[in-house]
Structure formats: C-alpha cells, structure tokens
Symmetry: D3
C-alpha cells in the first residue's frame, strides 16, 4: 500500500511480513548467481530465514536506523535495496542492493538508487552516502559510477565470501555533489 | 517517500520522526476542538510527547501490530489515521482517526478510511473492522455510517474523557460486506 | 495459602506454578466440551502449554494488569476466572471464566463472578465490567444476565473458533448499577 | 481479597499497589525504631520508594522467587513478612519480617512465621529456611528461637547499618525438624 | 592477554569465549572427582553448557557483579576461581574455586585466593569475604583455614548434591584481619 | 589487577568502574587538545558521562564485541585504546586511541597498538584491522604508517567535528602482512 513510484512499472515498498514468501522464492531461484558476490545467500536456507531478515528490517525502521525496501517491477518483487545503517552522529549511510536473475538489465537498481539517494539527502538530511562493492563484482560497481559517486579507496580483505576474503571498493557521494549533479542533468536520461 | 495516493491532492504516509514537529503543531492548534471527544489531547503538552507517540507507532509497525499514518492534503499534514491494534487470533482490528480544524469537510477521513479498510481486508487478510466513537461525537459517527458499517451496540461508560465517562457506539464491518459494497458501488461517488 | 473464601466449600486462589498439573488435567479432561466455545483449548496440548499460561498470568498480576484465579470446590480445582486485562485509562475490565465438566451446575461461576465484580469495583476502583460471550453459548450467557449485566450489543464475527467466526454478545455493568443491585438484593439468594 | 487467615483478627495478604500508601505511612511512623536494625529504612523517603518496593515484590512473585505479604491486624496493615529469595537449586529460602511500633507484642510475627514456614515446606516443597538477624537485635532474635530454629553461626560484619557493620546470627530450620516440632506441639500454645 | 601474574608459572585471566573449549575439556576430564562436592558438574554435558557459563561470567563482569578467572599453570588452564556475586550494599562477596585433577597439590588455589582477596579488599573496597564449603570436602576446607579465615558457622542442609543435602561450613575474613595478617606474615612462606 | 605488560613502565588494563574518576580527569584536562580531532570530547561534560562510556565498554566486552583498555604509564592512566567493534562475519575490526597531553611522545600508542594488533590477529583470529583518522590529524596518522599499515583510501566528509565535516584516511593491515612484518623486524627497534 505504502510505496514510492519510480516510473509507470516500477515502485519501492517497505518490506513487511506479507513479502516473506515472495522474497524467499526470489532469493532461492537466483541462489547460484547471487552467492557469487553476496555473503548472506547461504544463510538463507528456509522461508524462516527470510522472515527473520524481514523482522530485523522492520525493527531497523522502528529504531530509526534506516529502511529496507522491495523493488517491484510490473507488480512482482524484483529485488531489495536498503540502508545498512544510518550513522546519525556523522550523518552518513551506506546502501546495498540486489536483483533476482529475471530482473537484471532493466535499470531497476539505478532508478531505485536515485530514490534512496534523494531520501537520504532530502528527507533524512544526511550528508554522505557510501556504496561498497567487492572488487570483482563488475556489474555492481557500474551502479555507483553511473550515478556520479567517486571511488574513494580499496579496502583489502574487507569481505568474507564463504571461503575466501575479497577486497571492497568504496564509493562516496556527498549531498553537495548530488545537488549539483541533479541540477546539471535534470533534463537528461541518465539522472 | 513511501506513500499511498488517495487522489491528486491527498495521500497517506507512515508516520516517522520527520513528522514530529508538524504533528505536534497540528495537534496544538486544534487542541480545544480535539479534546472535546479525544482523550489523548491533554497528554500532549510538548513536542516530546508527540515524539513518544511516533516512536510507539514505529514500534507498533515493527511488531506487526498495525500502522499509524499521516493524512496529507496538498502537501500538509492534515490528520492521523491508524489501527489501534491487530488481533491476529480473531482476525480483526479497529480504526481511529482525527483531523486538524483546517482540514475538516474535505472528505479526507472518508477517503483515508477506504484505504485503511482495503489494506486491512486485502493486504492483512483480516475479517472484521471496528470503529468506536463516543455517542455524542455526531460528526465522527457519520464516517462509519457512510462507509457501510453496521451499528452493533452501545458500550456504556466505555470512555473516560478527562472528568466524566461517555458511552461508545461500536460499528462493525466484515470482509464479506465490504466486498459486496465495493462491487455494488464501484461506479458511484460514495465509494 | 492466599485465598478468597466464597462459601464453606468454595474459594478462589491466585494461580501459581503449583497449580499447573492440576490445571492441565482439568483442561484435558473437559477438552471436548470446552473447545465448543473456547478458542484456547486446542492450543493446550501439553502441561508445558498450561505452564506458559500460568507464567503469563503471574506476570499479568505483576504488571498490575489484572489477575487469574483458580476456582476451588471441596479442595479441588474446578475452573478458572480472570480479568482479560485492565484498562486503567478508561477504568474498565472484562472477565472470562470456565469450569471443568464435573463442576458445572453448582453455582461456582456465579459466586466467583460476584467476588470478581466486588474486587474490580471496590478494590481496583474500576467503573465498568464487560463480559463477552459467543452468541450460541447459551449456558455461559446466563451468567451475566443473572448477575444484572445489561446486554449492550452484538459484535459480528468477533471470535474465531478454530474454523469459523462467531458473533459475540457484549454485556456491561457499571459500578453504580452494582451498588444499587447489592443494596436491593442483600437479603436475597441471587446476590 | 486473597488472604491467609491466621486467626480471628490477623491475616496475611500479598502486597499490591493498593497497599502502597498504607505501607509508606506505617514505615514512616516507625522510622526511628525500625532504622535501628533495618538497613532499608533510610532509603524509603517518599511514597514512590514504597511503590518501587511493592512493584519489585510483585515481580518477585511473578518470577517464582518468593512472596512478600502484609501482616494485617484488625483490618490494619501492621507489618511485612517475606521471603528474600528462593534458592530452588538447593531448596532453601530465608525469611525477613518487621512490624510498625503500634503492633509489637501481639504475637503477629510468630504467627505469621508459622504460616510462612508451612508455605515454604508444604507448598513450595523447600527443605531449609534461614533467618538472619543482627546480633544486637535481641527482640527479633527471639522469633526463630521460639519457633525451634537452631543457631548455626555468626557471620561477622555481614550487615551494613548506615555507618557501621554489624554481625549477623544465622538460624536454620529443616523440613524434617518442623514436621517433628509440629507433631510434638500440636496441642500446645507455642505452636 | 589481560592477566594477573601470580608467580613465574602461574597467572589468572578473565574468562572469555576463547577459553570455552579448554574449559569444557578440563571439566570433562575431572568430572568424576569434581562431582563429588560440586553441584554444577552434572549440568555441564556439552561444550555449549560451558559456553553458557562463560557468557554469564562475561555479563557478571559487565554488570559490576564480580569476575570469574581461569587459573593458568605453565600456560594451561588448570581451574577456575570466581566471586559468586558482590553485595555492594553490605560490602561483601564470596569466593568459589576448583581445579582439574592434574593440577592439584601445587598451591594454585591458595595463591589465586590471595590475589582474589587483595582484589576484593584493595581494588573493590569490600569489607568481608566468605568461603562456603561442604562439611565433608576436607581438602577444600583447608584453603580458607590456611589463609586465616575464621570458621563462623555450619549451615545445615544448605547444599543439594544431586541426590542428598549436605551441610556447609561458612568461613569469613574481614578487611582489617587481612591487613593485619599481611603485615605480620609478609616475610613468611604462608602468605 | 588483570593487565597486559607492555614494558617495565607501561601496561594496558581493561577499563572498569574503578577507572571512571581518573579517566574523566584525564579527559577533562586535555579537553582543548583532544577536541581538535576527536568528536566525542564535547559530550563528556561530567563524570557521569565517563561512567556511561565505561559501562558501555564493559558490556561491549560481555557481548564479545571487542574491548576498551586504559593505557597506564608509571601507574597513571595515560590514555585509551579500544576496538570500535568486531565484525565477526568478515573477521575485521578497527582500532581507536588517544592520550592525555602529558603522555604524548613516549611511544605509548605505538606500543599499545602492537599489543592490540597481536590480540586481534592471534587471540581473536581476525584477518584485517582498520585505523581511520581525520586527514588533518597528522600526528595520529603517523601511528598506522609506522606500524606498517597501508593507506587504502580517503573517505570524504566521513566525520563530523562539532561544526564541520572532515575527510578520513583509512589504513588497513592484514594478518598475513603483520606476520611477515614481525618476522622481518623482530630484532629491530620499530617493532
């Protein structure tokens, strides 16, 4: 019911318990692809694991520590985008996202990111957004680059992927940069 | 960001901490009118009291016990509508609502109620909705009547209003009734 | 040890962990009869389920939210009577009760109700007591009627009984009414 | 309402929030006498301090960790008797008690102790009861002696009394001893 | 890392999760000997039981309620010494200890006790330390005697040992006594 | 009592409530210097603020989420070093540190860091350690450089310093690197 319309066929919705079954199925079907770069996949074995994630997400919201939203495409749950946490003291957050296999290549994450960036800067009044991606996850690294984030560093061994560590690239974007980007590109396709 | 569009100038939004100031001001300005029938008004003395209400509402959502939404009209917070609780065992809930003085007479509550009724029956899969109103609160009693609720009883002395008890009228609506009403009236003004 | 004497062969006692075994046995033996109108019976499968109920009852007392008492007849646990909750803001409560098969027809509930009504009005200083009974539960509906409660309404589909909804009748009694009834009937059998 | 009758003019009652005012007054009036040997008295400055004690007592009961009872004499609160805790692993408890000035010398504590001893051994199935009293508190030390407790030791500096330590005498009684004492003395005045 | 050096081959260390495996093994290997006098042994069946004990010990520290330390001899975990609790109101604590079979007879407990006594009197500013030992546990009773504790009493049936009760001897030591003992014996072997 | 000896005049000790007064005084005396680069200083107004920090640190330990230690020089509290958190999933932590004015220039942080690095890699079995320092905090940036950390990136606006944002430099060190550094430098002064 409560949603954020991205365009005529895409919207975001706060995750709640009604989404558990569809979210588990989405994860399960793309399990092999997702686990290549996402460390949480192997911990999601049953629908109860997904329910636990959703309950945590609901409490994250209630504790004013950010939100997790479902990305819906043509009425179906296509993926998840969320703030990992909100650091109110230093006024920054970081964003994570993933899509099921069938929904890749439609611009869903890029468009959802724009909404989450706006929400963080305009609504939550934060000053900085981070995206952290494993170095080898080329597809995912495209997102922050296209959106105007700066590459700020490479944290070695920062992520454990089931049986080995991988380096993470950190991308950063400030509120001032985003404002400037939006004014520049407001009539273009990209933003 | 996450909202439910009612029509071109009205939407509902889950209450969060960003809404505290505007909600306190709305309550404070209509204090004299609201306190005639609503028992919570005198407990809202400062903006911290409103913040406490909003934090409780956020945890109510996180505990899967219903939601509280702001009613927005032309971009301004006009009132509040919410489920008092959800009784999952017996599958019913009750709804409460109020508007600030400046927003009365625009159909805002009636339209918001329709959204909340749909959400309760279609999304939460509940079976029964109650509205309880003080007998003397004529204006507020109009809402459930117009929407097709049945008057089911009169609970004597059920509400304490600062210095005296008042009787409450209970209105009830079942999922089956709502389905029938919607199919009948789908092309009419009322619903 | 701590009890309330109703008459020479009947008393009430706050439920505690010593009562768990006897309470489970009582429930289990009258299972078929009780489940016709009481929705909790099928959830009581083992003595641990009853222990959980008793622990909740003890915390209900500790949180000043009402009490649950065992009804004892000739030294044996015959049934349970309790306040579902206490609404201190509006100063009302509701009462529930049941008996094991072997103890029906001795006036145990009626007499226990008088004690609970007195306790609610005189000791807790409440103003209103409700009893809610499924419409078809004729035997149980007799109790509030005999005690002078008013029938105040019929809440449709308010109770879920394993596989179907039933309507509930709401009976209400105010402190003023009870005071008057007691003064009128003090030398009669009924009260 | 729920009480334990000791004799025609004395009973015990679980403490609850209704007792707070009377209990504070009782404490306050005997403040000077009580503080000579009881370390809690100076912490009870206002009625809120007593309310906190009573709430703790209610949760002690709910956590199955013993009870605190008011001693009532001719309808008035005369003192308090309670289990400090219940050690379920080793099956023992210890008992504390005090009376307001106006109620001393009527045998109230001795009689209440008998009830608490019976409750501990017969109802809670414990095996050992302790009473600990400051060495110099001669009047209070009489109680366990009269009841048949054995003096088991003297714990040096075990109690802090506002500005100095005092030694405590430990008295012990086992279930077997109590059973024997009761059978021997059942027709005498003492027990 | 954080430790208290007792002598060249013995030190104490706060227990943490790294110690769980070694502690379980130590307990398990001496199971038959330990259970003769220690009531906790039969509750330690798996490494998870030991982990639970260690987590409780960590929270005991965090709640300022005393510490549990491992006794290390030549780099191996030899036993445990700990405060059962700290009674800040009356400023006393009690100490418990045990060793695995292979580490008995090396003075490890006596030396660890001295450290714990110093810590309690000098660092925590307590005034009294108790040691409680089952009457028949002759070896363990030697410890407080050698260290200068006074035998203060014998609590009958105070400990439950799986299938029977045993009496406990209570030994006490005050800060003043310890100070005197240390000044007297500072050049001797005993202290 | 429980400490880690760094050299003959320096040791680390887990912070506990006994350290509160000395820690507040240390903070207070160096307030002007510390607040130039540390965002927490202005929140420490009274000794209660420091007590709150220490209680949090004790619970951080109890929750297995890292430790906070006092750095002691010649018996006096000189500063604090601690893990901000432990990320067990990805097996990394980050370290923070500060010294009072009178203790700068004695190598205390460098030496304490070595102990904390060893503890993290050898005892906690982590794989990566981060140090984050404000870009302009030249003195503090020397520490990770001297110890062999790699500069991995510059996070813009990542820290809020009372009235403006500053960039942070991220330094990283892996377990493999530290092992190699130690074997290379074991006979040198630096490590």
């Amino acid at each position: 019911m409560f949603k954020y319309d991205i365009n005529e066929n895409t919207y975001l919705k706060l995750l709640d318990l009604n989404d558990v079954d569809e979210l588990f199925t989405l994860t399960d079907r793309s399990r092999e692809t997702l686990r290549e770069w996402l460390p949480f996949v192997d911990d999601v074995r049953t629908v109860e694991d997904t329910e636990k994630f959703v309950r945590n997400a609901m409490h994250q919201y209630a504790n004013n520590n950010g939100i997790q939203a479902g990305i819906y495409y043509e009425g179906k749950l296509a993926g998840v985008i969320g703030y990992h946490q909100v650091n109110w003291q230093h006024r920054w957050t970081s964003i994570g996202y993933w899509l099921g296999n069938d929904f890749v290549g439609k611009g869903l994450v890029t468009n959802s990111m724009k909404a989450f960036i706006d929400y963080a800067f305009s609504y939550l009044k934060l000053n900085r957004i981070e995206v952290r991606v494993a170095v080898g996850n080329i597809r995912s690294r495209t997102i922050p680059k296209v959106l105007g984030f700066n590459e700020e560093g490479r944290l070695r061994d920062a992520e454990w992927l089931y049986d080995h560590h991988v380096d993470q690239v950190v991308y950063g974007l400030t509120a001032a940069e985003w404002k400037k980007l939006k004014s520049t590109n407001e009539n273009t396709i990209v933003l």
